[in-house]
């Protein structure tokens, strides 16, 4: 490993899934304090800062840097929705390798549940203001967020014969892992029949195909491999990262069964010098079950269209060849609006062997794939233990 190779050295999560005592900045702060304690870095060592959020108020990188008191040499507020933090790893890794900065903080915090008071995202992002731009051609038709993903699921079923039972398998497996996470919002086991019996929100997606809405925040610290040697825990290597975008609005998705992951996940593998078959555990953005299915195919774990049959074989379950979302995911554990940071944190926990009952034995390579917007902006990060 080279002296300036980028590594992740500390992670911290704020109180979740229900934290009425914290506002969004409170989630940032608590997660940052825990990430610093996790690795033993001093706050004054931070000279790079990245964040993203969709709250109202001072969550832009510059105002957060001021609030937190970070004198940075490198700053980045890239906002690609839920995948922002995978893009942040890509950018921070390049900045560290290039010497633009030495120690980077990435943070996120959201009081989504406490602020909204409900647990399903069918209201949409849209406020009460007048409609302009691309939204003019969507707002009149009442498509909620779930509905956008339902357009993808419907087309995938039409082209490839994917079934609701196959999609449900994803939710069932993730729920099993949630049962091992004391901080997960929903922990009781569910069956495929339970998913199919839950009410349909937007055909063909059922309630249990949808992620929850929770509170939650997280932070991680990156630095050089050389600097990491003095720190408390074994560093996790950033082996490769890549991101791509095919569209933003769901009306512009060029192919309703393929995401930008088809471009950037293979690129992340190539940069890391690993193959899909080398991956021990995956943390995929599970906004909806269909999100995972499309990303699995785009990652090359199976052929396009074979995702349904692939998941039905149980590969994503505990003990399977590709355990998915071992923290219980956004489907069952924690989804405070932009889940991408939790994907990185859980991948780090797996590679450190800190995942408890959900630990994948001898995990050496983890893949985190974030999806932002409506399968719009995909960011892929390959992490490895030392």
């Amino acid at each position: 490993m080279g002296a300036r190779d980028p590594v992740i050295v500390g992670i911290g999560l704020s109180d979740a899934p229900r934290a009425p005592h914290l506002d969004s900045i409170g989630h940032h702060v608590q997660a940052i304090q825990r990430a610093l304690a996790d690795c033993g870095l001093e706050k004054r060592a931070i000279d790079g800062y990245l964040c993203a959020g969709m709250e109202a108020g001072p969550v832009e990188a510059v105002s957060m840097a001021e609030y937190l008191g970070i004198d940075h040499r490198y700053i980045d507020g890239t906002m690609t929705g839920g995948s922002s933090f995978e893009f942040h790893v890509q950018h921070a890794a390049a900045a560290i390798r290039d010497g633009l900065c030495d120690t980077v903080l990435v943070s996120y915090g959201s009081d989504f549940l406490s602020r909204r008071g409900r647990t399903l995202g069918t209201g949409g992002f849209r406020g009460l203001g007048k409609v302009t731009g691309a939204d003019l051609y969507a707002a009149p038709y009442g498509l909620p967020i779930v509905g956008g993903y339902a357009l993808v699921a419907q087309r995938h079923m039409h082209e490839f014969g994917t079934t609701s039972e196959q999609l449900a398998e994803i939710a069932v497996g993730v729920r099993e892992f949630a049962g091992m996470n004391p901080n997960a919002m929903y922990r009781d086991p569910i069956s495929v029949a339970d998913v199919l019996a839950s009410r349909v929100i937007a055909d063909p997606l059922h309630l249990l195909d949808c992620c929850i809405v929770s509170d939650g925040g997280g932070a991680f610290l990156m630095t050089t491999a050389e600097r990491a040697r003095d720190l408390r825990k074994a560093a996790v290597r950033v082996l490769g990262a890549a991101g791509a975008q095919t569209h933003w609005n769901i009306s512009q998705m060029p192919d309703y069964t393929t995401s930008a992951g088809a471009a950037c996940i293979p690129e992340a593998f190539a940069r890391a010098g690993v193959l899909p078959s080398d991956v021990d555990a995956i943390q995929f953005y599970d906004s909806f079950t269909i999100t995972v299915l499309v990303l699995l195919e785009d990652a090359g774990f199976c052929k396009k269209g074979d995702g349904g049959a692939f998941v039905a074989q149980g590969h994503l379950r505990r003990g399977g060849r590709l355990p998915l979302n071992t923290d219980g995911g956004g489907l069952s554990a924690c989804h405070s609006g932009m889940r991408g940071l939790f994907l990185i944190a859980e991948a780090v926990r797996q590679l450190r062997g800190e995942a408890g009952a959900a630990q994948v034995p001898d995990a050496k390579i983890a893949l985190a794939v974030g999806s932002g917007g409506w399968l719009s902006c995909i960011g892929a990060v390959v992490l490895g233990s030392e």
Binding site: L120, T122, G123, G124, R126, K130, V131, T132, G133, A134, L136, Y137, A138, A139, P140, Y141, G142, L143, P144, V146, G147, A150, L151, V152, Q154, R155, H158, R199, V200, I201, A202, D203, P204, L205, S251, Q252, Y256
Partner: protein, 142 residues
């Protein structure tokens, strides 16, 4: 083929505030014309309207669509807390692929939600949303 334009129904959906470019689209719909953009230089077709061709970067021009298309994908929305949609559940939202090759989002009406199918043929009609402006919707054409 001109779209039928429905007047006097009232508009309780989100208020549209189109800029100059977008306003031309909704004014045309108010006259029964469904517009998309075709690049005079490279022939690229696109929708929603933009101030440049996304293929070659050049200027764009309007073209008139036939108003006929097929459902490329769709969903039936069964839960939506926002007015007025919460009072219209369940309803269909589709991506319609026009004969001209561009896709538009829209509600498909005049068809039981259980009868919605990918590949079904639909035609556009327009509903007036304010004086002189209208919004396209879709209904089965077979």
């Amino acid at each position: 083929m001109a779209m039928e334009v429905v007047h006097g129904r009232g508009w309780d959906r989100p208020q549209l505030a189109p800029g100059a470019l977008d306003r031309a689209f909704f004014e045309a719909a108010g006259r029964g014309e469904l517009l998309y953009q075709r690049c005079p230089a490279c022939g690229h077709r696109q929708f929603y309207p933009r101030q440049l061709c996304t293929a070659c970067g050049g200027d764009t021009a309007w073209a008139t669509a036939s108003g006929r298309g097929v459902v490329h994908t769709f969903t039936i929305v069964r839960q939506n807390g926002q007015a007025p949609f919460k009072d219209e559940l369940p309803y269909a939202v589709a991506m319609v692929e026009l004969e001209e090759g561009v896709r538009m989002m829209g509600n498909v009406t005049g068809c039981p939600v259980g009868g919605m199918r990918i590949g079904m043929r639909v035609e556009a009609y327009a509903v007036e949303c304010e004086e002189g402006l209208a919004v396209p919707f879709w209904r089965p054409s077979e």
